[in-house]
């Protein structure tokens, strides 16, 4: 997993609620057996017409937002299927941070395991961010993971976000849970010998 600490970038606004992982990456693109290459099919049915041509009204096809690495999305982002491919597709398409007022549980975990930061703000802050980007498509936000802050142009106080201390360390150092879990070997072995509910 790549390390993540800070990022200054423009934003891609997607003011839709309950964006499910079937929209992020439709099931028919899940036939690959590697992690790479899902980015080209990110939001495929919103992004491309049936003939494969980009739909001009979808935000990812809007020239003003090209190269932006922060996705700004409506509440309950990532609900539905547990497919980690959704996080891989966002990452592969260049996103490093998703901001929403609310993430579905499994997506949040998958994003963190992919090196993609799910940054949760309050509903009011989310509205503020959408308003800012509506006014200035090139507005750049600065995400600072060590201090858990989001600096917003024209806003005197940065926004603060919560993240589990362990997960924060992992992201900053590029570690994942396997290393930690393997270090628990002796405790796990002892536990296995004491399970009484296997008949």
């Amino acid at each position: 997993m790549e390390k993540f600490a800070t990022l200054r970038s423009g934003v891609v606004p997607l003011p839709i609620e309950n964006v499910d992982t079937d929209q992020i990456i439709p099931a028919r693109f899940l036939k690959a057996t590697t992690r790479e290459g899902f980015g080209r099919n990110l939001f495929a049915d919103w992004r491309y017409a049936a003939d494969g041509q980009p739909k001009p009204d979808f935000v990812m096809n809007d020239a003003r937002y090209q190269g932006h690495q922060i996705l700004l999305a409506g509440q309950n982002f990532g609900c539905g299927s547990s497919r980690e491919h959704a996080a891989w597709a966002l990452y592969d398409a260049g996103f490093r941070v998703v901001i929403s007022s609310y993430f579905a549980d499994i997506f949040r975990g998958n994003a963190l395991n992919t090196g993609l930061l799910p940054l949760q703000v309050t509903p009011a802050e989310l509205q503020e961010l959408f308003a800012l980007v509506a006014q200035d498509a090139q507005a750049e936000l600065t995400v600072d993971l060590p201090s858990q802050t989001l600096q917003v142009p024209g806003r005197p106080e940065p926004m603060h976000f919560e993240l589990d201390a362990y997960k924060k360390e992992c992201l900053i150092n590029g570690y994942d849970d396997i290393d930690f879990l393997l270090s628990q070997e002796s405790a796990i072995t002892t536990f296995e010998q004491q399970r009484t509910w296997i008949f």
Binding site: I16, E17, Q23, T34, D45, D105, N113, D164, W197
Partner: protein, 470 residues
């Protein structure tokens, strides 16, 4: 101190509490399938790791398999290679695989229970969000991502936050023709798609107790559709009777010890939940969804409501536009071209019996394409043994071979763009059943009636006729 059922099982599985509120949670059973496992196997290989407990794993091919001619090689090259990869990985790492052609093959959440692998008091995970289905047996079962699949393979553990506890109580008696599917669609319509995010739900109350194991699985299955990490139901005589004699259930003296333990798995009287919701069973009607998330549901005979809050309006309108519906509209009389009966929500033998009982001696409407995809090879064989295949064929329904099929449309079973499909599955997301497909979620009975009528009808009168048949 009084404990909830969830706490009893969770706490027993904590290997170690880690600073910051995380726990190392031990996983008893790990189910895998072809779509979310290949990258996990590769990751292990890349790190030079092996599977810690391959004997605690079980694999099947379900998401991406054809539902016709399963005895022949898979036509689609990508699907074939994904299924082959699973076969290779399982052989190399010593994981039991019930692949195509095996008498136990089927949808992962159908075969675990029917084989008796799913048992009370266990922790069960799978790289699939509907793993919550197994909670019907009083197990802690939940879906995980592929990175976590690799973690469980390597360590048989996960590092997790403990979810909060919610209890959903449904008391009273269900009206005739109202099924477990209607109960859960009703609950999700009330709580919303994010209504249980961060929680693990226990379903309780007399209406839940009165459900068969199949019905309880339908309820727990859809827990994820309101954002819950999982759902569970305390095991009881219904659970034990279902499990008794199944291939992997304990036998003989071990069975008695198992039941003695399982009987301790319930929420203590004074146990505290972080949230409680109560519903009256008699207030639940046959349900249908009208939008593009499972929370957008209503009684079939009702009118499409307006969005609950102004902030939701844009997403709500986008959803209705996709469906070709308008707020305030009734769906009665709406022509339906496709009916899909299948998925881990409603593809078990009881569901097939419900459909067959209704369509016996009837014929589907000429313009309707009606397919039934059994949840497993065992369900299929049972349906044939009971003669249901004949009844269904005579009614113009096509009985396919087991798999996920049009629930997620990864294989060739897709609903055409713009077409309306009444489906017994669990998700009505945009494009879920194929690009542009419009899904209306309903119970097997509503789906059967719709197939015969060719349009949505107020099922109340049809239900009487159905009830009188028994």
């Amino acid at each position: 101190m009084p404990h909830t059922l969830f706490d009893k099982i969770w706490d027993a599985h904590v290997v170690r509490a880690v600073a910051g509120g995380l726990s190392v949670l031990y996983i008893d059973k790990h189910l895998i399938h072809e779509v979310t496992s290949p990258q996990a196997f590769d990751e292990l290989t890349a790190r030079g790791l092996t599977l810690r407990r391959p004997g605690q794993m079980l694999a099947t091919a379900d998401h991406n398999v054809p539902t016709r001619h399963q005895d022949q090689p898979i036509q689609d090259p990508l699907s074939r290679s994904q299924v082959e990869k699973l076969t290779e990985n399982c052989a190399r790492h010593g994981v039991e695989l019930y692949g195509l052609g095996h008498p136990y093959q089927g949808i992962v959440h159908v075969i675990g229970p029917e084989l008796g692998v799913t048992q009370p008091g266990l922790t069960i995970v799978c790289g699939d969000s509907h793993t919550s289905t197994h909670g019907a047996f009083g197990a802690i079962a939940f879906g995980i991502g592929t990175s976590q699949v690799a973690q469980v393979m390597a360590s048989q553990c996960l590092l997790l936050d403990k979810p909060k506890r919610m209890r959903i109580t449904v008391d009273g008696e269900l009206l005739p023709g109202v099924s477990a599917k209607d109960v859960i669609l009703h609950v999700i319509a009330q709580l919303g798609t994010g209504g249980a995010t961060g929680y693990f739900v226990e379903y309780a109350g007399s209406a839940i107790r009165s459900l068969s194991m199949e019905g309880r699985m339908t309820v727990c299955n859809m827990s994820i559709e309101m954002g819950a990490r999982g759902g569970l139901i305390a095991p009881d005589a219904t659970t034990f009777e279902y499990l008794h004699g199944r291939p992997f259930a304990p036998q003989g003296e071990a069975w008695d010890r198992a039941v003695a333990y399982w009987q301790t798995l319930f929420s203590d009287e004074a146990a505290q939940f972080d949230a409680e919701h109560r519903f009256e069973a008699s207030a639940i009607r046959p349900m249908i969804t009208f939008g593009t998330n499972p929370g957008m549901g209503m009684p079939l005979a009702a009118h499409i409501p307006a969005p609950a809050a102004a902030a939701e309006a844009p997403s709500f309108e986008k959803s209705l536009r996709y469906m070709g519906f308008a707020a305030g509209e009734s769906l009665l009389g709406k022509e339906i071209s496709h009916v899909f009966i299948g998925s881990c929500t409603n593809s078990r033998i009881e569901d097939l019996r419900t459909v067959a009982a209704y369509v016996r001696g009837k014929r589907k409407a000429p313009h309707v394409e009606a397919i039934i995809v059994p949840g497993s090879k065992q369900v299929e064989q049972q349906a044939i043994a009971e003669g249901l295949d004949q009844v269904l064929a005579a009614a113009g329904f096509e009985l396919r071979e087991p798999g996920c099929s049009a629930c997620l449309a990864m294989n060739e079973d897709k609903i055409p763009a713009g077409a309306y499909c009444v489906s017994t599955s669990n998700r009505n997301f945009e494009g879920r059943q194929g690009p542009g497909a419009r899904t209306l979620l309903a119970s097997p009975l509503v789906a059967a009636i719709t197939a015969v009528e060719g349009r949505l009808v107020d099922v109340a009168e049809y239900v009487l006729e159905y009830a009188n048949q028994d």
